[in-house]
């Protein structure tokens, strides 16, 4: 499983919270354009792994290189790296004091020096893409959960990232809204975006993922393409987990 030219290199990474080992000696390499789905039981370290990739969590040991930047090099400007890596959270985290358009344009304007006109034009294109072009001028509280999450995706895309990270993007949604968000994600995947997705949506994993990673107790227990993963899991822990949820 040695990678050709990975855009994300997580090597031998461990992460402790006080006494809890959230990650133990994890390796993960992701190719440009690859879609990786991470699954595993609660507390297995999925979120922690994802969050180390843009250094929302600092690691205790190991190294992480994203798009050629060593995240722990003293010379690296972490804010620059984060512009390359979009992130979508379970709880959306839209900025409630700005309109949808404001949410989408603030970062490009303040961080990339775009003009307001450019930024708004792009924002409207992105809203079109996520299917809510008519919501540009409303405030986030007025949106349904599914709409909010689609805005959150558009906001991350507005920085034209090379990588997108998703941490259970549909877990806080009512069932009837999950589909609309997954559709947007699937479309993004078809466009060739590099994606790392933590999710419990097995249907999505099966259809979209190039590779599925199963974590347990802070370790990667098994990884395989979905066809093999769902039909012939090797590790007993994986088998048990799949039994429970399918």
């Amino acid at each position: 499983m040695s990678p050709a030219n990975p855009i994300i290199r997580v090597e031998n990474v461990s992460k402790h919270f006080d006494t809890v080992a959230a990650l133990s000696e994890v390796d993960l390499f992701v190719e440009p354009g690859e879609k990786v789905v991470i699954i595993g039981p609660s507390g297995s370290g999925k979120s922690t792994l994802l969050r180390t990739i843009n250094r929302l969590e600092n690691i205790t040991a190991g190294s992480i290189v994203v798009d050629g930047f060593d995240l722990y090099s003293p010379h690296v400007d972490i804010n620059k790296v984060r512009m390359e890596v979009g992130m979508v959270f379970q709880s959306f985290n839209l900025f409630p004091h700005m309109t949808v358009l404001g949410n989408l344009t603030i970062a490009p304007i303040k961080l990339k020096g775009m003009t307001r006109a450019e930024a708004e034009a792009m924002a409207r294109r992105l809203l079109e893409k996520v299917g809510i072009p008519d919501k540009a001028d409303v405030f986030p509280v007025k949106l349904s959960g599914g709409q909010q999450q689609r805005v959150a995706i558009a906001r991350a895309l507005a920085m034209s990232p090379k990588i997108m990270l998703f941490d259970e993007p549909t877990s806080a949604l009512d069932p009837e809204m999950i589909g609309e968000v997954l559709d947007v994600m699937a479309a993004l995947a078809r466009e060739g975006m590099t994606m790392v997705v933590v999710t419990h949506e097995m249907g999505f994993a099966r259809e979209v993922a190039d590779r599925i990673i199963f974590m347990d107790g802070g370790r990667i227990v098994e990884e395989a393409p979905p066809a093999k993963f769902f039909t012939a899991p090797e590790h007993p822990r994986t088998q048990k987990f799949l039994e429970q949820i399918l």
């Binding site: 929302l56 804010n79 984060r82 890596v85 979009g86 959270f89 985290n93 900025f95």
Partner: protein
């Protein structure tokens, strides 16, 4: 043990913290709303009664006091503005991860809250007066805002901490640095939480400006004391002074409560 059960049986660690401002008649507290009305009516009616039916000495008194009221407001307004600036810096320092900055800000808060305002006023006014020469108004404003800056710092700190951490994470993951996140994302949301207690501190500060009368600043109370010790009309003078303070703080606390309501309505726009 079952989670629900645990929660319902536990004594919640409620933290009670009664501010030093006026009692804000918010809508949830009906007793206070009627009490506000009663107090206001009582204060205004008493004032009117005294002025109309006992013009001597009350009319003379009320002519004597207005410049004192003006000074009281001047000191209050300048002090609160300066205190807000100090408070913002202190609040940011208190949540800073830089240990040195954090310690400086926390120590400032600890010391200021540990020494009576009156002693601080004396100290800043007289003791430090030996080293720097400043007009008395300026000294009073500096002393008041030095003190209130510490309290205001706690208000800012609490306001900033009240914004969910997810907001910071979202902003940081877009590439904003720590200060940009504070400026574009956290503070614009925090001010709604911060504004009402700032209003409350304003009222508390207005009341505490009565202490500057001891520094021979001619505020409302000082004017009253001058009048009383000259005319020997202690009862009448302090009745009047108390009524005026009461009316001012009642009006201000009503304004704060209106502001609180507006802001809480705005939350859902």
């Amino acid at each position: 043990m079952n989670e629900n059960a645990k929660r319902s049986q536990d004594i919640k660690p409620v933290v009670i913290d009664i501010g030093d401002g006026a009692a804000i008649p918010s809508r949830g507290d009906r007793g206070l709303v009627s009490a506000w009305k009663l107090s206001f009516f009582f204060a205004v009616a008493t004032l009117a009664y005294l002025l109309i039916f006992r013009p001597t000495p009350y009319v003379r008194l009320i002519k004597f006091l207005p410049d004192g009221i003006l000074v009281t407001f001047q000191v209050t307004i300048f002090s609160i503005l300066l205190a807000i600036v100090i408070g913002l810096l202190t609040g940011l320092g208190r949540i800073s991860r830089n240990r040195a900055i954090n310690l400086v800000a926390s120590t400032y808060v600890e010391i200021v809250r540990g020494v009576p305002l009156l002693v601080q006023l004396f100290y800043i006014y007289y003791a430090l007066g030996q080293f720097v020469k400043v007009p008395d108004m300026v000294a009073a404003v500096v002393a008041m805002s030095f003190c209130y800056g510490a309290y205001m710092g706690e208000v800012f700190r609490a306001g900033i901490l009240s914004i969910s951490h997810g907001q910071t994470e979202a902003a940081r993951s877009l590439g904003f640095n720590r200060w940009q996140t504070m400026y574009y994302v956290i503070l614009p949301q925090a001010w709604r939480t911060i504004l009402p207690p700032v209003g409350n501190e304003f009222i508390a500060l207005l009341k505490d400006t009565s202490l500057v009368s001891i520094l021979a600043v001619s505020d409302l109370l000082r004017r009253g004391r001058e009048f009383a010790s000259e005319s020997f009309l202690y009862f009448e003078t302090y009745t009047m002074v108390a009524l005026i303070y009461l009316i001012i703080t009642l009006i201000l606390s009503k304004l704060v409560s209106i502001m609180e309501e507006r802001l809480s309505r705005h939350v859902t726009r």
